[in-house]
């Protein structure tokens, strides 16, 4: 009986790994091709495109030329700009949105439903659709071509507020009531009790805010035209122009941007495993 059960588990485990490997293959092959292409001399990039063979993935000649040639361009600065904007948005945005989510979940106040409906509606408004009126607004505030133009419009995020509200509303009210009876202030309850328990939302919300900024293209393109404030996606896209595409640099800068964006995810999923293991021990 137990041998039978063990072999079922083994079969399930094998099926799981086979499935994961197949998915990973489909997801990674294009990226591997991208990275490999970024290591080829520009002349070789499309030399093997039309025939099936190992040379598609194994370069004849390796070079870092596409990477070293990025140093002289605005790319390093653009990575720094993107990181600054994305991290600031992430930290300040989590605080601002978690506070609002807490208020919607825990407090009773007038017009709460109307205001919450507005938050959701704002979350669903196509951002691309408001780029032009937003530009007019940000210009009248005198913020065009500043970091503030990139950060401020993205701090409040209806979806992140929604996530926090859902989480805080799901916690037992006795938790807050007990603390109130003990004389704790709301700020204290939020900071010391609610936020620490909500760490999965802090992380997912934080990643959401970070990725949104790191991915941003259309808004930074119009809002910060000067080279000092160019962000990473705009810098990458500058390799594509009417005169022709710098494929080598396009691939190398895309590879680097992808690696940077991967860091918060790797940190984040480590937290999950830790939590998973400890909750299993309890």
């Amino acid at each position: 009986m137990s041998v039978d059960r063990r072999s079922t588990m083994l079969a399930l485990g094998t099926a799981r790994y086979v499935t994961m490997s197949l998915i990973a293959l489909v997801l990674l092959l294009p990226l591997i091709w991208l990275v490999v292409s970024s290591l080829r001399p520009p002349a070789d990039i499309f030399a093997h495109g039309s025939r099936l063979g190992w040379s598609m993935l194994i370069p004849d000649r390796l070079t870092l030329e596409n990477y070293t040639s990025l140093i002289g361009t605005g790319f390093p600065r653009a990575v720094g700009n993107s990181l600054f904007v994305a991290l600031t948005t992430m930290v300040v945005g989590v605080v601002v949105n978690a506070a609002a989510g807490f208020a919607f979940a825990v407090f009773d106040f007038r017009f709460k439903n109307v205001i919450f409906a507005f938050v959701l509606a704002a979350a669903m408004m196509p951002f691309e659709a408001i780029v032009i009126p937003l530009y007019i607004l940000v210009q009248s505030l005198g913020l065009i071509d500043t970091y503030a133009a990139l950060i401020l419009p993205d701090l409040a995020n209806g979806f992140v507020i929604f996530m926090f509200r859902q989480f805080f509303a799901g916690l037992p009210r006795e938790l807050y009531e007990a603390a109130r009876v003990d004389g704790a202030s709301w700020g204290h309850i939020w900071l010391k009790i609610a936020l620490p328990i909500s760490w999965p939302v802090v992380l997912t919300g934080g990643i959401m805010l970070f990725m949104h900024q790191f991915e941003a293209f259309f808004w930074p393109l119009v809002a910060t035209p000067s080279p000092e404030h160019t962000v990473v996606q705009v810098a990458i896209a500058r390799n594509i122009s009417l005169e022709g595409t710098e494929w080598g640099r396009l691939f190398s800068s895309t590879t680097l941007a992808g690696l940077v964006a991967l860091v918060p995810f790797l940190l984040f999923q480590k937290f999950y495993i830790r939590n998973f293991v400890t909750s299993g021990l309890k």
Binding site: A24, V96, I115, W186, P200, T254, A257, S279
Partner: protein
Amino acid sequence: MTALTDRASAPVAASEAPRAARRRSADPMQPRTLVLLAFLLPALAFLVLFRLTPIVIAIGGSLFTQNLAGETSFGGLTNFAQLFGDERFWNSLKVTLIFNIIINPLQIAIAFCYALLVMAPGKGVTFFRAAFFLPMTLSTGLTAVLWNIMLDSNLGPVNAILEGIGIGRQPFFLSEHQALGTMIAIATWKGCGYWMIFLLAGLYRIPGELYEAARIDGASRRHQLVHITLPQMRRPLAFVFVADTAINFLFFAPVYIITKGGPNGATDLLMFRAYENAFTFINWGRSLALSTIILVIIGVIAAIELRLFRDKEGAEA
């Protein structure tokens, strides 16, 4: 919208009596106005300034029309009337709806499979989690650039592989019949890892005791999935569906970069129409009218999605 706010009180409803008592004794649970404002105001002020104000400008602008000389005048609903009489608009609406009806359930189903696969710890699972998320680190525009060259009929490795294994070269974005499906495929390739994270967060919040109890009762894995995992995942699934719909209605960069709405209108999504009207035809009024229509459609679909998930919750309670 009301569906959502109802749910706020759902966990509290069980303890209705103490809540009423709390109201009467007025009350450590009610914050002073200043405290309430400190919590709410920063987020609300940003939303009003950077979302509501541009929306008002947009909706207001949709009521203005332009003549050939570029002069604007108040035209009431003229922009909408012109759109509704335009065949291209109806084609775009059809393409947008088909795109969304396929891509949203597809992405969520795949993302859910990803999450279930990488949930349990194991050898190399970290690698697979990272692998599933990796396409997400490419921006939408770069995904389009990468796949456009990958699927190129002469230079692209995909067609070389297809020819090599005997399927033969495919036109992909060049074919009226394949273009939209290819769009859906590359968006799915990129997007599922992102939604996997939200679903993973939801899966980890399901109390382990539920599964333990089920195992002791001898419930099969499928039984556990249907009777524990799925009901417990209602909230994360509702959230992910609404968020995914909003994002896919804005699907734009690949259309702009690869197909420009073609071939023959096959990928002419509403968002691309809105962009084209603004930046190619410099017709702001009509572009803003299209944005308004997209907003209304997203609102309706989100309301339906939330209602679907709430009904199940009601049945359980």
